[in-house]
């Protein structure tokens, strides 16, 4: 049996999947990136291989993606998150024409052509406003785990208007609103709204062509999904595997190579890419 792996080393979390020859998911793993991207990559790889009940030698081809893709010392090939998220999204929702990926530190909008190819993309990676990190600030200020933010925000009745765009100041704004007696769910809804409008403008930058598929860690957040639906005024595909979409896309590329038997061409050394 042929197995391949996709490893997505993000700014906040490292994700990995193993696919079998039929492109079925044979294992998946996720890990917080703490200190060291290379070791996080190695660990998540070990984990995913174990979860598939395999050993590293069973993996025929590994594609690395994500912000830290050049720090993956063991991969065969690197592909950008843009191509990987697109690939993963199209594999699950073949009619996808626009992908929105909200990650921990950046947001991407990708336009897909009729053959599933990437046509255009836009990203926000200069300022942490409007990224998953904005929610991280909320999670810190409210002392709630990330997974509870969305469900709580959905209960809002009178969302507050968040005025700061800076992620750092957002934290104090949240606390300020709470101190003034606003309910956490209303504050959270405001935070979500602020991200949703920023991301919507990024999506419009590549043209809002349906169907739209929402990927990345923040796609696990139900409030974000529903707000984006409202703001974009269109339905949204969300996969249960949304968080792994980059890793799945990477693994699909790995599968292409493994099937074709083409050798890997790992580019660029670790030093070449500044953090």
């Amino acid at each position: 049996m042929l197995y391949v792996a996709g490893v997505d080393v993000g700014s906040t979390q490292a994700k990995a999947v193993v696919l079998d020859e039929q492109a079925h998911v044979a294992g998946e793993a996720i890990l917080d990136v703490e200190m060291n991207m290379s070791s996080a990559a190695q660990q998540v790889f070990d984990l995913v291989v174990a979860s598939a009940g395999l050993t590293p030698d069973d993996i025929a081809f590994t594609v690395a993606t994500g912000y830290g893709r050049y720090r993956v010392t063991f991969g065969d090939l690197q592909v950008t998150e843009i191509s990987c998220h697109a690939r993963g999204a199209v594999a699950e929702f073949p009619n996808t024409r626009t992908v929105l990926d909200i990650g921990g530190q950046d947001t991407k909008a990708i336009r897909i052509g009729d053959s599933g190819e990437v046509v255009d993309f836009a990203m926000n990676d200069k300022c942490a406003a409007g990224t998953g990190r904005f929610l991280g600030a909320a999670s810190f200020a409210l002392e709630l785990p990330l997974s509870e933010l969305g469900p709580l925000a959905l209960k809002a009745t009178a969302p507050v208007k968040i005025t700061t765009t800076c992620t750092v100041f957002a934290e104090s704004e949240i606390i300020g609103h709470l101190a003034k007696g606003r309910r956490p769910e209303d504050v959270l809804a405001g935070m979500h709204h602020s991200i949703a409008t920023r991301c919507a403008s990024l999506v419009r930058r590549v043209g809002l062509t349906p169907e739209i598929t929402f990927t990345g860690g923040v796609s696990r957040n139900a409030a974000m999904v529903s707000l984006l639906r409202d703001v974009l005024d269109t339905p949204l595909n969300v996969s249960a595997q949304g968080h792994f979409m980059g890793a799945i896309g990477a693994a699909l590329y790995a599968l292409d190579h493994a099937r074709a038997g083409t050798p890997g061409t790992r580019r660029a050394s670790v030093e070449e890419v500044a953090p």
């Binding site: 200190m35 942490a128 990190r133 100041f169």
Partner: protein, 301 residues
């Protein structure tokens, strides 16, 4: 010298609320400080209570109260309010008549102020949009390194080889800090690197108001010796710090000084000191918030 005049200055900052009590010889009779929290008016009353208690006087003995800081309008028992820029200018010039440029690094903003020989504000600039240029930047790094605010300075002073922090976003700087830690760089070098980065931005702001010597630092950052050193080296000149630990109290001190001036003027003119007039004078109509009759009608319909 009689001391039957007592003037309080209260500075309601975004992070700390500070108060100073002066008598008519301009001597500091008491000070007080507290975290501002999220109810500035409550913080102001609490600090005022502390102040009178510290001075061992009754509230009724206070002649005049002036407020400053971002919460200056939120104190109902004030006689007047003055902006912190004016207060810093007056206070600094009182201590050091030769100072022409003042820097105040606060938790959520930075201010650079150029003043003249009379202590009047001539030009100023602030930065408050992006956390990368404020005290919050240091606090974030410190939090990541497990340091308390008060420890930042002494800790960073141990640095021998400050590392360069190149990110322009405070959030991304955090990843940079993590990377540096991972590659084995000493935490004090990282802390010092952040201080140098922030110091550079601060000096830039000072230049943008037309930096003239002498320079002074005010606000909470005066407690941070590493920041003082970094600024001095960037400026290539010494920084004046308000004496007697009045650095963080500089704004409150200035507010009290200006209050005292006002009292002296009123008394010299033989006028009464009116009771505190906390509520704002009636403002003219605000067209910006005017709701057209038609809109009001349709909203209620």
């Amino acid at each position: 010298m009689t001391t039957d005049i007592l003037v309080a200055g209260i500075d309601i900052g975004s992070t700390y609320t500070k108060a100073v009590l002066l008598d008519d010889s301009r001597a500091v009779r008491a000070t007080a400080i507290r975290r501002s929290g999220y109810k500035p008016s409550a913080a102001a009353s609490a600090v005022f209570d502390d102040l009178v208690a510290n001075a061992g006087v009754e509230k009724a003995e206070i002649t005049y109260i002036s407020t400053t800081g971002y919460g200056r309008y939120m104190v109902p028992f004030r006689h007047t309010q003055i902006t912190e820029l004016t207060c810093h200018a007056v206070a600094t010039s009182h201590h050091f008549p030769t100072v022409r440029t003042i820097l105040d690094i606060g938790g959520q903003d930075i201010k650079a102020i150029r003043i003249d020989d009379q202590g009047r504000v001539r030009a100023f600039r602030l930065n408050d949009k992006c956390a990368a240029g404020t005290g919050a930047f240091l606090e974030k790094t410190a939090r990541y390194l497990g340091l308390e605010t008060g420890d930042i300075g002494p800790y960073a002073l141990r640095s021998t080889q400050p590392v360069e922090i190149s990110s322009v976003c405070a959030v991304f700087a955090e990843s940079e800090v993590i990377n540096h830690l991972a590659s084995g760089i000493a935490p004090e070098d990282i802390m010092e690197g952040s201080i140098v980065a922030l110091g550079g931005r601060a000096v830039q702001l000072m230049k943008r108001v037309g930096l003239e010597p002498d320079c002074a630092l005010a606000g909470g950052m005066t407690h941070n010796p590493a920041m003082v050193a970094a600024l001095e080296s960037k400026l290539g000149a010494p920084l004046r710090l308000p004496p007697h630990g009045l650095g963080q109290l500089n704004g409150a001190f200035g507010a009290a000084l200006l209050g005292l001036r006002r009292v002296e003027r009123l008394l010299a003119d033989g006028r009464e000191i009116a009771p505190p007039s906390g509520e704002d004078a009636v403002k003219p109509r605000r067209w910006s918030t005017y709701v057209p009759a038609s809109a009001a009608a349709s909203a209620s319909a």
